[in-house]
């Protein structure tokens, strides 16, 4: 029963990424969307995200990155960029979705 966790808030603004990481299971994946995409950039949280990407698949939504003027080539090591089509695939490839609102 794998889970796709979506995080839609900046790690500076909310604790949802931290909470998600506390209860994530092996085989689960994380998708950063909306203001959550900042976590994939070179912020003071990048070590946390890099570590998460070593134990889990971590994705970031490209259209939300571009909207915010964040470059795909500057994102945290191990994080993969997907578009909305990729978002849909991630939803179907995992057994359920947990949106960390």
């Amino acid at each position: 029963m794998s889970t796709l966790h979506t995080i839609n808030k900046s790690p500076f603004d909310r604790n949802s990424l931290d909470s998600c990481l506390r209860v994530i299971s092996d085989g689960d994946a994380i998708l950063l969307i909306e203001d959550g995409v900042y976590a994939a950039t070179g912020t003071s949280f990048s070590d946390t995200v890099k570590a998460a990407a070593q134990s889990h698949s971590v994705y970031v939504l490209g259209p939300d990155l571009s909207a915010r003027g964040m470059k795909e080539d500057g994102i945290v090591e191990g994080v993969k960029v997907v578009d909305y089509e990729g978002f849909v695939d991630l939803v179907t490839e995992h057994d359920k979705i947990n949106s960390w609102l």
Binding site: S16, S25, D95, K96, N98, L101
Partner: protein, 133 residues
């Protein structure tokens, strides 16, 4: 076939409506005879504090409704230990929620399970539908 539904409560009551409207979803879900589990973590643990009195803020005190969860056969309520501790709370600060086991001469049993993040992760992994409020 019943599905395993989990409702995860992460927000404090009153500051926003999510706690109240989440409870409305939970109560409705009981009518569908699904396997329902509730989680209180992060600021969601504040929803269950004893002695809430909203007279001074003009809002409805909906905290008594939690004690009805047992009557709706909702008896798997998980509270994350780490969230409780960070807030300086213990189970004694929270409502004591119970359900009656009709297979055991209607004995009152605890609905609340205090779990670590790790134990919670295992319970979450086992669900089929998760809605986080």
């Amino acid at each position: 076939m019943a599905k395993k539904f989990m409702f995860v409560n992460r927000k404090a009551p009153y500051g926003t409506i999510y706690a109240l409207e989440s409870l409305e979803v939970v109560l409705i879900s009981a009518a569908f005879e699904q396997e329902v589990a509730l989680v209180f973590m992060d600021d969601g643990v504040y929803q269950l504090t004893k002695g809430q009195n909203t007279d001074g803020i003009g809002m409805k005190n909906f905290s008594p409704t939690y004690s009805a969860l047992g009557d709706y056969e909702i008896k798997n309520i998980y509270i994350e230990k780490e969230s409780l501790e960070a807030r300086g709370l213990t189970l004694d600060d929270l409502q004591h929620l119970v359900w009656e086991d009709e297979d055991d001469d209607y004995a009152e049993k605890d609905s609340i399970h205090l779990v670590s993040s790790k134990e919670l992760a295992a319970v979450m992994a086992d669900q089929e539908v998760v809605i986080t409020f």
